[in-house]
Symmetry: C2
Subunit: 403 residues, 2 copies
């Protein structure tokens, strides 16, 4: 029995293959690379029941993750986040089987920890000593901290408007942190230059192949938490799109292993009205998206004008008979408040967008009443404190409440 | 088999007993009440192995928790937080078996979620419809959100200086939130008046008996995560002291059940130099602490000048041959940074204090080299963003890193 059944990397565009025992970035054709496993061999030694009683982290699925030696695992205990019933808001929406996969309950408070844990672990295994990446904040925070744990140096560039808390997380880890007076795409250009100039490992979204594998574990967990039944619909806030690509990959692998049956869930890419390139491409039936100019949204994590993996996201939508939908900022902020009041969960604006999307898709009939629906919340609300308006009365010592 | 083996409540001071099927507050003698279980009966139906494969939340221990009907459980997926090896900083301190129990990886980002989950669940079971409490921030945030999930109204009063993020969490839940220009003790006086005036359930620390039971699960998890072996030392940041009381209660119950063997771990109460009433009382060998005037520390959660359960904390220290130690703000902030740089964990100032304490107690020889040591981090660093000083260079679009 092996710790990992990884076999090789391959290009989803030109099918070229690559060795997983060397650091790899993009395919020579410019496409992101995907990880392949010996699923037949894996299936001989591992079953669904193998996971019972294993550690409550994403590493419980190590055979279907890319790290070959357990000693190279860099972990802060990430994964096995709650899959919570949302009965009150589900009742309001007329979706009785509404669940939230809450990715706020994870180190660094967002789902980015998954990609960072697996990406940094594999980088460590391959001997990487210094990496660089652009970020909208949360990924940079996660990669900074996991890199610190691995003893890997990191250079992180984020927009000046990225959430301040992510700046603190990155800074306290000892990362080389820079801000840029622009968008993540502007940060990306500076990183691209720097990795050339200083021979750094480029950990930009999808420019290294292992972040997807970390995100994939959200799909594995949803399946295990639903007792290896597939939900009917999964809604995902979509910026760079790695989460949706990962979940699609996970469920496909589970089907190949014969661990789940039936149709794949319909995947829904949820974007902000102020930055909706995937929605536009999906509506036009296109295979790739176009750069979205002057993008703007309070849901900072999904402000990505053009994703490198857009074609993979769109493929996942087409293959699962899913859809894409854009939500205006005002609605998602209202929903964020509603979820806190009705369900006691203070989620991030990106996550709130998926609930607005569920509400609208139920209204239109696209979601049926008996569908099992999973809305992905990608992070804690407390990482974006400015999305809450607070006016509070100040009492003096000894004062009495008038109520 | 029952869902819970709770039998009754009892007073640790005067031994008076109370019914757990009615809402209870303090004993008539003024002491907090403790929960008792039919451990003999429980032991006939439940073993250590019963927990294998159960949900990764604190409710895996439901038989030894106070909620009688599963339907009354109010959960956001709290518990089974990581117990992480800290090899780099452990090596630096000459404590090779140093672990961190990371209570940042939990809903609302602090250990307060445990007390709120169990306390609110039991309040719901007993028909409570409205509660009130003073808080230093994090407990109020947690109780606001869990109360919202339970459909219970809450009135929360916190100092104006409490961390801003906790204010947002409380506000977004729809709680009746007030600030007070003073300390938690001033907030407590206003709450005490309000619960009389408006007939509210008083959820102040230790004025209701079930919060301890939630905190207790930290002790249960540490035992299970160490494969039912006791550590030698547990260090705990101590304000109200419920965490240390809970852990002591948990380990005592596990001993009675015969699920762990050997000596109880030496419990260490870690306080801030600017607010160290327990340390002072322990040094003087006293059974209770005195009010600490003009208390002040950046570790806001442990700024508690006089804890209602101080005598229970001190008893836990004396019974386990533990100790108490005060840490100055400057040192704990340095340690916070060091842990982020060396171990990739951005922890809260209170948690950082326990690591300074471990370092000092190892230097003095009180901790031995072969001791298994667990430092409790009670929350995420991101809840206190102002504890990080950040100065970051801003680049312009198209600029090149000079490195």
């Amino acid at each position: 029995m092996k710790y990992s059944y990884i076999s090789h990397l391959s290009c989803p565009k030109c099918n070229k293959t690559y060795d997983h025992q060397e650091p790899q970035q993009l395919c020579t054709c410019g496409s992101p690379l995907l990880v392949n496993y010996n699923l037949d061999e894996l299936g001989k030694y591992v079953s669904r029941d193998s996971f019972v009683g294993r550690t409550a982290s994403l590493w419980r699925y190590h055979e279907i993750l890319p790290v070959v030696n357990e000693k190279d695992v860099v972990t802060l205990g990430e994964g096995m986040t709650p899959l919570l019933p949302m009965p009150v808001i589900g009742d309001e929406m007329d979706i009785p089987n509404l669940y939230m996969k809450d990715e706020g309950i994870i180190p660094t408070g967002t789902f980015k920890a998954r990609g960072a844990a697996v990406g940094v672990s594999k980088a460590k295994e391959l001997g990487v000593t210094e990496l660089a990446m652009p970020t909208n904040g949360n990924a940079g925070a996660a990669w900074s901290l996991y890199a610190a744990r691995a003893g890997i140096k990191s250079t992180i560039i984020m927009p000046v408007d990225a959430p301040k808390i992510t700046r603190n997380e990155s800074a306290i880890s000892g990362s080389n942190l820079y801000l840029v007076d622009g968008l993540i795409s502007d940060a990306g250009k500076i990183v691209a230059e720097a990795v050339q100039d200083f021979v750094l490992f480029d950990a930009s979204t999808l420019k290294e192949p292992y972040r997807i594998e970390g995100k994939k574990t959200m799909g594995l967990e949803i399946a295990e938490q639903l007792n290896w039944n597939m939900p009917d619909v999964i809604l995902y806030p979509t910026g760079g799109g790695v989460g949706i690509i990962g979940i699609y990959k996970a469920l496909t692998e589970l089907k190949q292993l014969g661990w789940v049956e039936g149709e794949l869930p319909r995947l829904v890419a949820v974007q902000a009205e102020g930055c909706a390139p995937i929605v536009k491409a999906w509506k036009e039936g296109k295979a790739e998206s176009e750069f979205w100019s002057d993008s703007e949204t309070v849901a900072f994590g999904i402000n990505v004008p053009k994703a490198l993996g857009d074609f993979l996201v769109l493929e996942a939508l087409y293959q699962t008979k899913g859809c894409a939908i854009a939500i205006e900022d005002q609605s998602l902020l209202q929903e964020q408040k509603r979820i806190a009041e009705l369900e006691g969960a203070f989620i991030c604006p990106e996550g709130a967008a998926t609930f607005v999307a569920a509400r609208r898709l139920r209204e239109s009939g696209w979601i049926k009443q008996d569908d099992v629906v999973v809305a992905l919340n990608t992070g804690m609300g407390i990482k974006y404190p400015d999305t809450v308006d607070v006016e509070v009365e100040v009492l003096q010592k000894g004062e009495i409440l008038r109520k």
